[in-house]
């Protein structure tokens, strides 16, 4: 009996010590973060809101301003906003961990690819009853439909997210290299065909310093992002229409387009070799002026306009169009959206906050560059984007490439351009796609032919896809 008491006493003492230090720690760090705090996100109310997103530094600054403003406006209600920013790599891990622990923040990102699983498992709040219809009507239709889900199909039904952005992956060229080579600039009204593009690339690929080694290339592509625009622009897809079957070996459009794509490296040599690419990525080479064409996401514009980062003249153009598609230059669109936890204690406050994060005019002006001079995205508010934003680009208030219409072409769609969501958006996870990506360097370096690679990889991709479908179905059971 005595022993028991001793054990208990010791444990209590031990816990006491550790919890004591624990308390101190918590208090101290709160103090120190207050001291260094540039972010006053505290009010006098009761409600405490947790936010978890990933962001670049300047995006973070813009959102911090918005949250501060919001906190001030609602300081009678809000006690504190915990704004946690992580990196894109770690975001998924953190969210998974938070979900398993039943500890989701009140506001977080959900991409269109995971709307279904989040809704099926009951994690996100339908926004229909909370968000002003005017706000919704002013969103780009493409994004709105990406976040609508009716329980069986994405594209209609309740709205679950307000977009953080709608981005597109356009193409850019280095004007200075064109001038040097005496070439005409690409025509934004008329994207190149495959053949024309190859031709121009060949003329841009050369050995500038005469040491016998190529040091300037027509184009550089990052497989994970910069390959699908070539393939999509030939009308090629990897999956069947309901995204249940991988279809690549019996798929002439895809095979031709992929052959064209790898030949840029393997046969024509108009891109850096696989080895050179691992040594110094295409992005860096483009910044160093070694590359004629390179991809330009809407989020890249600010960096490319910054002469310290990229001291060359450049402009936007369309991805080359293959012979077998519908003749439109096609790229992928990206978006991620703000969602509200279904179990949040403050649905009204949270939905109001995400409306502000998503569509506050000042916020959009900052993120798209009118007030900051750094354009990270095109504005989420359609009215503003198609009017003032365009004007401000034209009159130079917002540093931007001249051919802004290329981006609007991809986003809005027209007879030359279109944007689509990549196929992995519609599958539970992207493992089938990663499986395809993993071996591409071997095809590009000529170690394996396209035919053999397709034969080898197709069953593996199908396995991964089957697996994803299985997991998708477990989700719906809840």
């Amino acid at each position: 009996m005595k022993l028991k008491r001793v054990v208990a006493a010791a444990l209590v003492a031990l816990m006491g010590v550790s919890s004591l230090t624990g308390c101190n720690v918590a208090k101290d760090s709160e103090k120190s973060s207050d001291a260094s705090s540039k972010t006053e996100m505290k009010g006098e109310g009761q409600d405490e809101i947790d936010i978890l997103i990933y962001a670049q530094e300047h995006e973070k600054a813009a959102y911090e301003d918005l949250i501060k403003k919001f906190t001030q406006e609602h300081k009678d209600k809000i006690k504190k906003v915990n704004f946690e920013v992580t990196t894109q790599d770690e975001y998924a891990t953190k969210m998974t961990a938070a979900m398993t622990a039943g500890d989701l923040p009140d506001i977080f990102y959900v991409g269109p690819d995971s709307v279904r699983s989040y809704v099926d498992n009951g994690y996100v709040l339908p926004l229909d009853d909370y968000v002003d219809q005017k706000v919704v009507d002013n969103l780009w239709p493409e994004i709105k439909s990406a976040y609508q889900y009716d329980g069986t199909k994405v594209g209609s039904g309740s709205l679950y997210c307000l977009p953080k952005d709608l981005s597109c992956f356009a193409f850019a060229y280095n004007k200075d290299l064109f001038d040097e080579a005496g070439l005409d600039y690409p025509d934004p009204q008329k994207p190149y065909t495959y053949d024309e593009f190859l031709d121009v690339c060949k003329k841009l690929t050369k050995d500038k310093d005469g040491d016998g080694e190529i040091d300037q290339w027509g184009v550089a592509n990052a497989n994970a992002f910069g390959m699908t625009p070539y393939l999509y622009s030939n009308g090629a897809r990897f999956l069947n229409e309901d995204y249940t079957k991988v279809n690549i070996t019996d798929n002439k459009k895809l095979k031709d387009a992929f052959q064209y794509y790898v030949d840029l490296t393997a046969k024509e040599g108009v891109t850096p070799t696989v080895e050179q690419d691992t040594a110094l990525g295409g992005y860096q080479r483009w910044l160093d002026g070694q590359i004629g064409f390179y991809a330009c996401g809407t989020w890249d514009v600010a960096a490319f306009m910054d002469k310290k980062t990229f001291p060359y003249n450049w402009d936007l153009c369309g991805w080359p169009v293959g012979p077998d598609g519908d003749g439109k230059s096609t790229t992928w669109l990206g978006t991620v959206g703000f969602a509200v936890n279904k179990d949040t204690k403050y649905p009204d406050l949270c939905t109001e906050l995400i409306s502000s994060l998503s569509t506050d005019l000042d916020g959009q002006k900052a993120l798209s560059g009118e007030t900051t001079g750094k354009s990270m995205q095109i504005p989420n508010i359609k009215d503003y984007a198609t009017t003032t934003f365009k004007e401000k680009v034209k009159d130079g208030t917002i540093p931007y490439a001249n051919n802004l219409d290329v981006i609007f072409g991809y986003v809005e769609g027209n007879d030359k351009y279109q944007g689509i969501f990549s196929e992995s958006t519609y599958t539970y996870n992207a493992e089938w796609w990663d499986t395809f990506l993993e071996g591409i360097p071997n095809v590009q370096s000529g170690k394996i032919s396209v035919d053999d690679y397709f034969k080898e990889v197709e069953p593996k991709m199908q396995d991964a896809l089957d697996n994803a479908i299985k997991l998708q179905n477990t989700a719906t059971k809840n």
Binding site: G22, E84, T87
Partner: protein, 297 residues
Amino acid sequence: MDRVETQVINHKKEYATHSVKSSKQKIGDVIIFILLAIGAVAMIFPLIYMVATSFMTKNQILSGTLTLFPDPILLGKYSEVLSKGQFISGIFNTLKIEVPVLLVGGFTSSLAAFAFAKLRFRGKEAFFLALLATIMIPFAVVMIPQYVLFTRLHWTDSLLPLIIPGCFGNVGMIFFLRQNLYSIPTEMMEAAKLDGCSYFGTYWRVFLPLMKGALGTQLMLWFMGIWNDYLAPTIFLRSESKWTLQVVIRSFNSYYAIQSDYALIMAASVIAMIPTLLLFFIFQRMIIESIAISGIK
């Protein structure tokens, strides 16, 4: 107490080395010295490179020719790192974990090691094996359930997930200290009993002073482990104000690598390495000797 001290002195004598060298041996020594020096350069070159890079401009780093001498010398990166609030708060957060863990964890571990080595009780082997088996469990196995646990305890917005488990002791340390205590004769135990010491008194007054060296070594290694840990903090820590040093450095890497600010990352890494290096340099004799005494088996 007298007996205790003579024991310690005997210990030290055994390991003192003494020899007079012949000229043949001396030539051998010179050759070995040269070989060791070459090896040392190979070992440390990447780090010299790291220090050099921290003074270089981006253009020089990416110039494609390997140089060790920054030209021009860029000093600003160190002050830039140190002026970042994140970096300083990262250091403080790490220290806030170190201090309670090392104090409390060092105490609980050494107490348990004492029990395992010197006391008789049923289930000793079983308890010990159970503890030891945990070394074999990859962190990946326990990570998710641990996170669930910490969240339910509402610890995830503080440093507690990194502090509390450590306070319960460290298996590697218990193992090591147990080995160390085996080298101290059990008669000490009897002597202490005769002196009227309680069990805790025996630990506190007799054995704790005797394992000072080993305990210090283990604490130092543990300190370095916590200092350099990054997987657990990444997963368990939520708000940026709680980030530890390594998480901060890693975030520099993902923020600045795109903008190629390698100099900044390297400067941060250099600063982060200094404390561990200094500790090791100062205490290395003690570390090696205490490992030797513990006789690994």
